[in-house]
């Protein structure tokens, strides 16, 4: 582990740059999902579900459902973009395209490649969250300037979920095996991670479980930033997210290295 960390270098940015180049050559189509996603949600939940649930009690305040839910979809995007990039996309680059092999013939080391992949998956979360923040601002759903906190939250949240994704990339034998973490970890967080309803209404045990999930903390931080809420508990979640992202990233590095260097 120590050797792995010592081999980390800024050359990882070359790998990041490669992935970013691919992304930005098709930016018109790449930007579409994060632009349209919040609009779709806002339409569906605002016009549809919002008619059924008029108000949500949250943090001692009464919010419109849309107001409550909008930060949730940003948190979900942070999770999805990083996770998909570091699983399916990284796996395609590693296994089908042999992109890592090509890079490893240059002065870059395996650690640079893995860190570059982590940082790129993280960047996808940051990009998506930033675009969504813009859309939600236009819709009048963001409190400024606290909304800006979404960017660093997306960074550490993105790192956390890309590390989780890369851990699975280091283990799966076929690409279809990503369905396992997808439906046992990601989807439960998507539904129970404080995204679409306030988790305080859950029974005690379920609430405890929910607070163990990374997305719950990312969603809590994101919502507080976008709504402009302050709470002493924010520190707990911030420490959780930063610590978990760093620990999991180090773990993912070590696991991936073992996979790539037999």
């Amino acid at each position: 582990m120590r050797a792995t960390l010592r081999n980390l270098s800024l050359r990882a940015l070359r790998v990041w740059q490669r992935d970013a180049d691919v992304y930005f050559t098709t930016w018109k189509t790449e930007f579409l999902p994060p632009l349209l996603e919040p609009i779709l949600y806002v339409l569906a939940f605002g016009l549809g579900l919002g008619q059924l649930i008029r108000h949500v009690e949250y943090g001692g305040r009464t919010l419109g459902y849309l107001e409550f839910m909008a930060p949730g979809i940003v948190a979900v995007a942070i999770m999805f973009w990083a996770f998909f990039e570091s699983t399916f996309s990284s796996y395609v680059r590693m296994y089908y395209q042999k992109t890592f092999d090509a890079i490893l013939a240059t002065p870059l080391l395996v650690e640079d490649v893995i860190l570059g992949e982590l940082l790129w998956a993280t960047s996808k979360s940051v990009i998506a969250a930033t675009i969504m923040l813009g859309v939600l601002t236009a819709l009048g759903l963001v409190a400024w300037p606290t909304g800006l906190w979404v960017v660093p939250i997306a960074f550490f949240g993105g790192l956390l979920f890309s590390a989780i994704g890369l851990l699975f990339t280091s283990m799966v034998k076929t690409i279809s095996q990503f369905n396992v973490p997808m439906f046992t970890i990601i989807m439960p967080m998507f539904t129970f991670g404080g995204t679409f309803f306030p988790i305080d209404i859950l029974p005690r045990w379920a609430l405890t479980v929910a607070w163990c999930l990374p997305l719950t903390h990312v969603a809590f931080l994101t919502r507080s930033a976008i709504l402009g809420f302050a709470s002493p508990h924010l520190w707990v979640s911030a420490v959780y997210v930063v610590a978990a992202s760093l620990v999991l990233a180090a773990w993912a590095l070590a696991r991936m290295k073992r996979r790539l260097v037999p």
Binding site: Q97, T99, D101, A102, L104, L109, P262
Partner: protein, 308 residues
């Protein structure tokens, strides 16, 4: 940083690699002199690629040492890889980029400044005759074009050593000769080349020296012509539709006889009168007398059993 004058371009001592539950390389030692073209010959699974991948810092050796111009592959992989140009067995061009961008992106990994990369890329695309395909996607290229692009990419960092892992496997004769021509012109500029192949003609065409590997060990090495002379002699008799009397006759002569299916191979060694002898004794026997090749050496050393 590149070692002392007179040091080997590549030096390997007792290299071993065990992985996936088997010993792929079992104690390989060899030297490659600067400017030399050395070919690793061996059947599939012999350990050629594993050896080459240890030299090029893809795989850490289980034991043994390897240095490139005096630099240890284990402790200084970045420095070693800076001196190498690697053409891998499998095409790993970047399918997300066009031809030119493949080179530009690759140059960045070496930290070559942008303008310099562009100049080199243009020059190399001319060299491999892909200058008119700059904007083509990698998928649109033929197998031969892809290989040429891989070669251009391997030359981007102006390597002192070119590593070619089965550079022409699966190519048609035109494409193969195109690669050979370029490798020969590189050799003329003093680039050291380490290549693996199981095409004997390729080895004979390109290599100053061949190293025959099987079961993870070096069986023999030498200049192609010397190896043929030493191991097989100058001529080979191939016969078919033969009877026992003919086989027994050859068997009684000095030299080596091999019966494979419906074909008989006779290696007379030093015997030069074999043609006259056969004309006299078995004038109607269907046969072919040909020059011995590296392939005969290869089959003698590694046997005829199928490997996969």
């Amino acid at each position: 940083m590149n070692g002392l004058p007179g040091t080997s371009a590549i030096q390997a001592r007792d290299l071993c690699k065990a992985y996936a539950g088997m010993e792929a390389v079992r104690g390989v030692s060899f030297d490659v002199a600067p400017g030399e073209v050395v070919g690793f010959l061996g059947p599939n699974g012999a350990g050629k690629t594993t050896t080459v991948r240890m030299i090029s810092c893809f795989l850490p050796p289980t034991s043994g040492t390897a240095t490139v111009y005096g630099v240890d592959v284990r402790t200084s992989p970045r420095e070693v890889k800076r001196m190498l140009g690697v053409c891998p067995q499998e095409d790993n061009l970047d399918p997300d980029f066009d031809v030119l961008k493949n080179l530009l992106a690759y140059g960045r990994y070496f930290g070559i400044p942008g303008r310099e990369i562009r100049e080199r890329a243009e020059r190399l695309l001319d060299f491999v005759q892909l200058a008119d395909r700059k904007k083509s996607g990698v998928q649109e290229l033929s197998g031969g074009m892809k290989r040429r692009l891989v070669l251009a990419r391997a030359l981007l960092n102006e390597p002192r050593i070119l590593i070619l892992d089965e550079p022409t496997t699966g190519l048609d004769p035109q494409a193969r000769h195109a690669i050979w021509t370029r490798v020969r012109s590189l050799r003329a500029t003093g680039v050291t080349v380490l290549l693996t192949t199981h095409y004997m003609e390729e080895a004979a065409q390109l290599c100053d020296r061949v190293v025959v590997i099987d079961n993870g060990k070096i069986l023999m090495q030498g200049a192609p012509a010397d190896l043929v002379r030493r191991e097989v002699g100058s001529t080979v008799v191939e016969a078919w539709n033969f009877d026992r009397a003919f086989a027994d006759f050859l068997g009684a002569l000095p030299g080596r006889l091999e019966e494979v299916g419906d074909r008989l191979y006779y290696y007379p060694g030093a015997e030069d009168h074999v043609e006259r002898l056969l004309d006299e004794r078995f004038p109607h026997q269907e046969r072919l007398i040909r020059r011995a090749t590296l392939e005969d050496v290869f089959l003698k050393l590694t046997g005829r059993a199928l490997r996969d």
